[in-house]
């Protein structure tokens, strides 16, 4: 029996392909194979002999079957390996093309600003970009002769002959949305109004169109100190810093009284802006307490209600936060710029994930 075992284990070891394995299986453990023939002989044996030989034969059969299976697997592995070797590809070739799109910094920053102010209870208001001069100027306490009108470099819409109304303007600021929002919703109110604004100015740092976000909060007890707090919270959240110092400088806007320009403490090192530290001051917005005449124009009783408004350049704060050097490039749609300064569509700003 050991002969048989050695013979077949040796043959199996030498078998070169699946066919040879199968032939050996038939020859050894097939129905008419050598092991089967031996099994048949068991019947002729004495019970004692059988008791010894039976298990031995079964063990031999199992051993040969295992050896066959192992060899078969080994051969399959070898064949697979050989095939895989032949299937070599140059994995340094580029992957299949997939174009990635981008979100413009203005859209991204508008959403960032919205997320922050939404948390403080501000809704988002919108208004027309072509405005009447009443909404753009008069309602904001800027009468026709006011020097601010001349200083604002206003774009006017052409008037057809015979149309004697004052020409409409391209809104020079988002402030007219204040008026429209107060007219629509009354007080109390908290809104921001992001959007396009226009001034006839084009040089290194000015484009005839840019973006502002207006903020407005009106209630019975809102103070300039509240304004400062809101702006401090905004700046901290927007720039992602723990602490920030804001400086309110007395200033003048026809639609607020008192008025303040707001600077943030910062440092510029190697062209990199750091907010909250350093010895420089960076002017970021104009603000103030809404002028009683503005409240009146919007149908709100200034003896009952008071509140603040501010206006800030979206493009400007985008440039500051993301280190974008040139305003004019925002509107040029240079693919290289869009890819470099744009944002992934999945990078949707929110407060829990950070801005």
């Amino acid at each position: 029996m050991d002969d048989l075992r050695d013979k077949y284990l040796g043959l199996i070891g030498e078998a070169g392909d699946e066919a040879a394995i199968e032939a050996l299986r038939v020859q050894a453990v097939g129905k008419k194979g050598e092991v089967a023939l031996k099994m048949r002989e068991l019947g002729k044996m004495t019970p004692e002999e059988r008791q010894v030989m039976g298990p031995k034969l079964n063990a031999l059969k199992d051993e040969i079957n295992s050896a066959l299976a192992a060899k078969k697997a080994a051969l399959a592995d070898a064949a697979l390996n050989e095939r895989l070797q032949a299937e070599w590809l140059d994995v340094t070739l580029p992957g299949r093309g997939r174009s990635a799109g981008t979100i413009h910094p203005i859209s991204q920053v508008t959403e960032e600003v919205t997320a922050i102010f939404a948390d403080m209870g501000f809704a988002v208001a919108e208004g027309p970009q072509i405005e009447t001069d009443w909404y753009n100027f008069d309602a904001l306490n800027i009468p026709g002769h006011h020097p601010a009108r001349a200083e604002m470099d206003t774009f006017y819409m052409a008037r057809a002959e015979g149309d004697e109304r004052p020409p409409h303007v391209l809104r020079t600021h988002t402030s007219p949305v204040q008026i429209r929002s107060m007219q629509d919703q009354g007080a109390p109110i908290r809104v921001i109004a992001p959007g396009r604004v226009y001034r006839a100015d084009y040089d290194q740092t000015h484009t005839p169109m840019f973006h502002q976000v207006e903020g407005l909060a009106i209630d019975t007890d809102i103070s300039m100190a509240n304004l400062k707090w809101v702006l401090e919270e905004f700046v901290k959240a927007y720039f992602g810093v723990d602490d920030v110092e804001l400086r309110f400088r007395a200033s003048h806007f026809p639609f607020t009284e008192p008025s303040a320009e707001v600077d943030i403490r910062c440092s510029w090192e190697g062209g990199v802006l750091k907010v909250g530290e350093g010895d420089d001051w960076l002017e970021i917005l104009g603000s103030g307490m809404v002028h009683p005449k503005v409240l009146e124009a919007a149908g709100i009783d200034p003896t009952v209600y008071q509140g603040f408004a501010f206006g800030m350049g979206i493009d400007r704060i985008a440039m500051l936060k993301y280190g974008i050097p040139d305003l004019r490039a925002f509107f040029d749609s240079d693919l290289r710029w869009l890819r470099h300064y744009g944002f992934s569509p999945l990078q949707k700003p929110n407060l829990h994930g950070g801005l």
């Binding site: 997939r98 799109g101 809704a123 300039m224 809101v230 804001l246 008192p258 509107f331």
Partner: protein, 798 residues
């Protein structure tokens, strides 16, 4: 507005440092824009003493001087006539840069004798035009820095020049005295501005002044007087220094006096040469229009109707409040001067100045509002200064009109101030601040000083109090907010726009923000460019009309990128387009543009030109992201900037268009210099209906246990039959059973013959009650073939 520190100190007695003053100015709303350190360029000049001066052996005019300096006695050759032994001089040693001659001094030989430096004149140090000789100082130690000596002995020459920005509401700060007043109110010192004693005339004024009745409204008062026998000429050095320091050119004393009071007290004046006033009478009246005058700037101006003219017998001599005339202006030869101190209406002055395009110091001040009460006092102040310096004899004052009454008072509600500002400012402090600014407190009523035309209500008092209290000191106070988790604030439309934007970017498009105005030609290609959407004053012809659509801006962006070598582009914009020139005649669009190949050159062979189906797929994806229903109609007949055969609109019914997609018309591409292929889509987010229910619950998901069956059919059709008709016909064969019909192959021409195509569809049948038998399937298949044949004339392909 510029002034020097020493000028300020003529009005303000203060111990404050320059930094304290600068900080206070900015904090008070008088923003410091710059400080010029005029001493910086003279830092290296030192004081020396000439110990010996001898004639140069080879030159009559030169002297060889031995000069004691901080580095010992140096030999300096000097050509100045006053170079002589014993004088104290200013020395520029070798290596020192001399600004007035733009030269760095070196060691040199002059006619054979070595010279180790230079002794400087005032002009060489840009201190004045004086160049008759070198400076002789009355004092000074050898080796002392010259700037230190100047700072101690003649500070007006080197003290810092401060430039501040003046907001339109603060005309009072356009005079140095007004700036001092603000600083004093802040506690930085005390005011020492004084007004002159009136000058009594010694003879009647030979020139009379009248203001027409209809002109009194815009020129309410005019004071004047003659000073005879003055000696005009260059101003004294102190006055020249002052004017030069703030960037004004000294002209002649009489003219310089007017400039001085303009900046010192915000009091513009005008001086006429009394001998050139024809008929000895000045008359103020409203222009009829067409009158002309040669201005002091030697340009001719033509009056428009209602502008205010000051004229003599011969015609206009001055544009009231804006600019004097050249003819009657003072010159060096003037001996009899007529001084004008008047008050002109701010609004009228602003209109006149704007119309005539004259930016003068006078206009700048009158249109913001000067102090009307100081008009006669200003005349006396000028009289006194002129007589002190130039002599002469003053006439009586002639006056026309009356000083306008600007008195008014507003209630100071100190509690309201605290509530508005959010800072605890004691009532007494509030009152004291206003009084320091010149307000007269009468109980709660604050009477506004005549120099503050901007204060027009209680709110303005709040601003004054807050300004003086310092907004920099304001501490933030948390604003009340609703308890709990903040509610969402965006409207459904705002959310929809964000979804559209981010979906387009996710589909591979780069977001652009292009200008809202484009050129007329481009606008006209897209049904725009008419008069209603034109700008009156465009900044250039490239930006003359409001955009009627986003596509032209994106095509221009594509052309610019192609010019830079980027041929394959996917761009989008989401924003407003304008269908008219009235407020509200704008609508939001989402537009995508694909140009060139789907991918750049590609080893996998997948790159191909973009086609209409790319645009359609993207349009549908964006519509889906915005919540548009899945079942839509695709109709033909879109605007003519699309390829007529390769475009369609996505509709809910023929009048409800959600979007358009297609190939851009080749003519439009050519006009806009874009190399195709180019396809795109435009969607109208506002047109998509919002779901009727607002709940969050989804409809129940129905999953069938029974096996679905798919069968393929290929039909031969006329080539112009649209696939959607085949799909709809097939789906209609058994609406309950057929779950989905998909087109999976299209083959045109070839063996089918000209004008024919084959369209293959897969029909998915989902039984609900029992498994389909082959017989059931055959029955449905037959019905599908029949329906398709009936609807489209298609036959099953053999």
């Amino acid at each position: 507005m510029k002034f020097t520190l020493s000028w300020l100190k003529e009005h303000l007695d203060t111990q404050a440092t320059l930094d304290d003053i600068l900080y206070a100015l900015t904090d008070l709303g008088l923003e410091v824009e710059g400080v010029e350190d005029r001493g910086a360029k003279l830092r290296d000049f030192t004081i020396g003493k000439v110990v010996k001066a001898e004639k140069h052996p080879d030159a009559d005019r030169l002297r060889v001087c031995q000069v004691d300096t901080d580095e010992g006695v140096k030999q300096i050759i000097c050509g100045a006539p006053n170079a002589r032994e014993g004088i104290t001089v200013v020395v520029a040693k070798p290596g020192v840069y001399v600004p007035g001659i733009d030269t760095t001094i070196g060691v040199g030989k002059i006619r054979g004798i070595e010279s180790f430096g230079m002794m400087a004149s005032e002009r060489e140090m840009e201190l004045s035009d004086e160049h008759d000789g070198i400076i002789e100082l009355p004092s000074g130690e050898v080796g002392e820095a010259f700037v230190d000596w100047l700072a101690a002995n003649d500070p007006a020459k080197v003290d810092p020049v401060i430039e501040i920005a003046i907001t339109p509401n603060r005309p009072d700060a356009l005079g140095v005295a007004g700036i001092a007043r603000d600083l004093a109110a802040r506690g930085l010192g005390t005011i020492k501005t004084t007004d002159p004693e009136p000058v009594t005339g010694t003879f009647p004024c030979p020139i009379s002044v009248t203001i027409e009745d209809d002109t009194l409204e815009v020129a309410p008062v005019f004071f004047g007087r003659v000073i005879k026998g003055v000696k005009n000429g260059p101003s004294p050095a102190w006055l020249q220094d002052k004017l030069r320091a703030i960037g004004l050119r000294p002209i002649s004393f009489l003219v310089d006096v007017t400039n001085y009071f303009t900046y010192d007290r915000n009091r513009p004046l005008h001086v006429f040469d009394a001998d050139k006033v024809a008929g000895n009478a000045l008359r103020l009246y409203r222009a009829k229009g067409g009158e002309t005058i040669m201005g002091l700037d030697e340009k001719e101006y033509t009056f428009e109707a209602d502008q205010t003219i000051i004229a003599d017998e011969n015609g206009p001599e001055s544009i009231a409040g804006v600019m004097g005339g050249l003819h009657s202006g003072c010159t060096d030869e003037t001996v009899n001067v007529f001084i004008e101190a008047a008050y002109f209406d701010p609004i009228r002055t602003a209109y006149t100045g704007r119309a005539l395009k004259i930016n003068s110091d006078a206009r700048y001040r009158f249109e913001r509002g000067i102090d009307p009460a100081w008009t006669p006092i200003g005349l006396d102040a000028a009289t006194r200064l002129i007589m002190d310096v130039a002599g002469g004899e003053a006439s009586d004052i002639v006056v026309a009109g009356e000083i306008p009454d600007v008195s008014r008072a507003y209630k100071l509600d100190t509690d309201r101030v605290v509530s508005l500002v959010g800072m605890e400012i004691p009532a007494e402090t509030q009152r004291a601040s206003l009084e320091a600014l010149g307000f007269c407190m009468d109980g709660d009523m604050a009477h506004v000083p005549s120099w503050r035309p901007d204060v027009l209500g209680e709110a303005d008092l709040v601003e004054e109090v807050a300004r003086i209290a310092s907004l920099t000191k304001l501490k933030g106070i948390p604003m009340k907010r609703l308890p709990g988790v903040p509610k969402p604030v965006l409207t459904p439309m705002q959310t929809r726009e964000i979804a559209a934007r981010r979906t387009m970017a996710a589909l591979g498009y780069n977001e652009c923000v292009t200008y809202s105005f484009i050129d007329q030609k481009a606008a006209a290609l897209f049904d725009g460019g008419d008069e209603a959407s034109a700008l009156e004053n465009p900044i250039s012809s490239e930006m003359s009309h409001m955009r009627p659509a986003l596509l032209p801006g994106l095509l221009q962006a594509a052309a610019r990128n192609q010019a830079r070598g980027f041929m394959d582009l996917a761009l989008f914009e989401l924003g407003a387009a304008f269908h008219g020139g009235e407020p509200g005649e704008q609508h939001t669009l989402a537009t995508g543009l694909l140009v060139g190949k789907t991918l750049s050159k590609d080893v996998h062979g997948e790159s191909r030109g973009v086609d209409v189906y790319d645009a359609k797929a993207d349009a549908e994806a964006v519509l889906a992201a915005m919540g548009a229903p899945a079942k839509v109609q695709i109709l033909r007949g879109v605007s003519d900037w699309w390829h007529p055969g390769r475009s369609g609109k996505i509709c809910l019914g023929p009048k409800k268009v959600l979007g358009v997609f297609g190939e851009i018309h080749p003519k439009v591409l050519a006009e806009m210099d874009v190399k195709g292929p180019a396809v795109g889509f435009t969607l109208w987010p506002a047109e998509i209906p919002f779901p009727r229910t607002s709940g969050t619950t989804r409809s129940a998901l129905s999953l069938r246990d029974l096996q679905a069956v798919e069968r393929d059919f290929a039909f031969v059709l006329d080539a112009n039959v649209e696939a959607l008709n085949v799909v709809n016909a097939a789906a209609g064969a058994d609406k309950a059973l057929i779950e989905d019909v998909r087109v999976f192959d299209e083959f045109i021409g070839g063996s089918l013959g000209e004008g024919k195509k084959s369209l293959a569809i897969t029909v998915r049948m989902q039984p609900t009650e029992k498994t389909l038998t082959e017989k059931d399937i055959e029955a449905v298949a037959a019905k599908i073939v029949e329906k398709v044949a009936k609807a489209t004339g298609g036959v099953l392909r053999g």
